[in-house]
């Protein structure tokens, strides 16, 4: 599997380490009263629950043995085909 790093070009997956689902959004503690159980629920969902799709999956890879940047990759979990990649600091879609 080769990952098309936006900075370095196509590189072997060996150079990267994986963090998982890139669509998760960390809850904002300021948005809800900290005593509210809804906040605990949101953090539970954020930390533990995953869509885990069979198909397109947007995920974080860290190019540790390269440019040392975080990359947002869209990959099909059924066949490992990669549809696109963008740097994490750039907002917007990866594909």
């Amino acid at each position: 599997m080769r990952i098309p790093c936006p900075y370095c070009g196509e590189r072997d997956a060996h150079e990267f380490s994986y963090l998982g689902d890139a669509t998760l959004v960390r809850p904002d503690p300021a948005a809800v009263d900290a005593q509210d159980s809804a906040l605990a629920d949101r953090f539970h969902d954020y930390v533990y629950l995953r869509d885990n799709p069979a198909g397109a999956h947007r995920e974080w890879w860290y190019h540790a043995n390269g440019c040392r940047q975080w990359v947002r990759v869209t990959r099909d979990t059924r066949n490992h085909a990669i549809a696109g990649a963008s740097l994490a600091r750039e907002p917007g879609d990866a594909a």
């Binding site: 060996h14 998982g20 930390v47 629950l49 995953r50 885990n52 069979a54």
Partner: protein, 416 residues
């Protein structure tokens, strides 16, 4: 037909003409008391114990492929109960006890071989950790023995004891652990469950759930709708995909684990050996091939095949442990899909939707758990209360904080 010396002798005399299929290829009936989704070891064991222990015979096991086509035929056949934590060890020791009587129970040769598993340690700190784990095992009624370097050398003189980076100092040995013939386990459970009246329905994939009010009352399948008093999922590898059809999001990621077998050799390794400085384990099948594996690939996958970096990593682990395998040729390698849970431990619990029961999250340790998983899941389904040794495997433990994290790496499934 009951298998025995006499049945083999009789068939030897009549040209092997009297053997019958081991189980019926059942067509689905319109309704059952319990429908178990997933015809792997866990699903079939659950059906068997539901019928045998709890007297519930009107049961169907529905399987999207054929029996033995999934992870039941893809694992590396190791059975053991060498866990540390109180939520795990009694469960796996119960499984070990069931393995010990399995063949007599099922009247099927599952080739259970208690050849021992040796976990090597390479540092003082690792020895202390293994001593602690060995003591925890003994407290739960399992067996363990801490060996020093001299004792390990007597068992396996060919290991690389004086490796410059990871010298072998000793190992933790569980004598009662070993291996079992993986597909014979599912065949044996299938045959025994079938004999007790369970319908085994193959090539029948779940496409959705039947609901009435808020309850689940059956499944939609590629072979029609099937109503059920209770629906039980035992589809590790695909748990998220099936549970999603019931509106659930699970604390699980699916990852691919690769395994390998070499060309056949004369007997060289008579037990199971694990490398303590990397992730590598090896045993020898009765056919002669060395069966080995290591880490999961580490990224979400449903592909049932992995990539080369992990193959290289596994090979390096093998060479660091026993350099003599360097000239061996690989015969086969393959991948299976693991339910990697968020704390590395499984889930046997009622789902938050009434009528649905969940058996999931086995990571890459599901094979050894097969008998106890079936036993405890059947108990939960029949009585609506958890079995004593599986009480910690709750789905809500991630919310309450009662995690069972053997490795202590947190909610990062690819590290478990």
């Amino acid at each position: 037909m009951r298998y025995s010396f006499l049945s083999i002798l009789a068939n030897g005399l009549n040209g092997q003409s009297d053997w019958k299929p081991a189980w019926r290829d059942a067509a689905p009936k319109p309704s059952y008391d319990v429908v178990i989704v997933g015809g792997g070891g866990h699903g079939l064991a659950t059906a068997y114990y539901l019928a045998k222990v709890h007297g519930i015979h009107n049961v169907a096991v529905i399987e999207k492929g054929y029996i033995g086509s999934g992870n039941a035929g893809r694992n590396t056949t190791i059975i053991r109960s060498n866990y540390l934590l109180p939520g795990n060890e009694p469960f796996y020791e119960w499984s070990m006890k069931l393995w010990e009587g399995l063949e007599q129970e099922l009247n099927y040769n599952a080739m259970v071989s208690q050849r021992g598993i040796l976990n090597l340690y390479h540092s003082d700190a690792q020895r202390d950790a293994y001593a602690r784990r060995g003591n925890a095992m003994r407290l739960a009624g399992a067996d363990s023995e801490l060996l020093d370097k001299r004792q390990v050398r007597a068992m396996y003189p060919f290991l690389d004891f004086d490796n410059a980076r990871f010298p072998i100092q000793g190992g933790l040995l569980q004598h009662r652990a070993g291996t079992a013939r993986h597909d014979a386990v599912v065949w044996g459970y299938a045959r025994a469950a079938d004999t007790l009246g369970v319908d085994i329905v193959q090539n029948c994939e779940v496409t959705g759930f039947l609901r009435e009010g808020g309850n689940i009352v059956g499944v939609e399948t590629t072979r029609g709708a099937i109503r059920a008093g209770k629906v039980a999922l035992a589809v590790a590898g695909s748990s998220s995909r099936v549970a999603e059809k019931a509106g659930l999001r699970l604390p699980i990621e699916s990852h691919v684990l690769q395994a390998f077998v070499s060309e056949g050799l004369k007997p060289v390794i008579d037990g199971v050996i694990t490398f303590g400085a990397g992730h590598f384990y090896i045993s020898q099948s009765d056919k002669g091939g060395l069966v080995f594996g290591g880490d999961i690939d580490g990224y979400n996958s449903y592909a049932q095949r992995g990539n080369l970096p992990v193959i290289e990593d596994v090979a390096e682990g093998g060479m660091a442990l026993m350099p003599r395998i360097g000239r061996l040729r690989l015969l086969r390698m393959w991948g299976g899909i693991m339910d990697m849970s968020m704390d590395g431990s499984p889930i046997i619990d009622r789902a938050p939707v009434p009528g649905l029961y969940l058996n999931a999250g086995w990571c890459y340790g599901g094979f050894k758990a097969t008998p106890a998983s079936g036993w405890c899941f059947a108990h939960l389904i029949a009585r609506d209360e958890p079995h004593a040794v599986a009480g910690a495997y709750r789905l809500d433990r991630f919310r309450s904080g009662h995690l069972i994290d053997e490795k202590g790496v947190g909610a990062q499934p690819n590290l478990h």
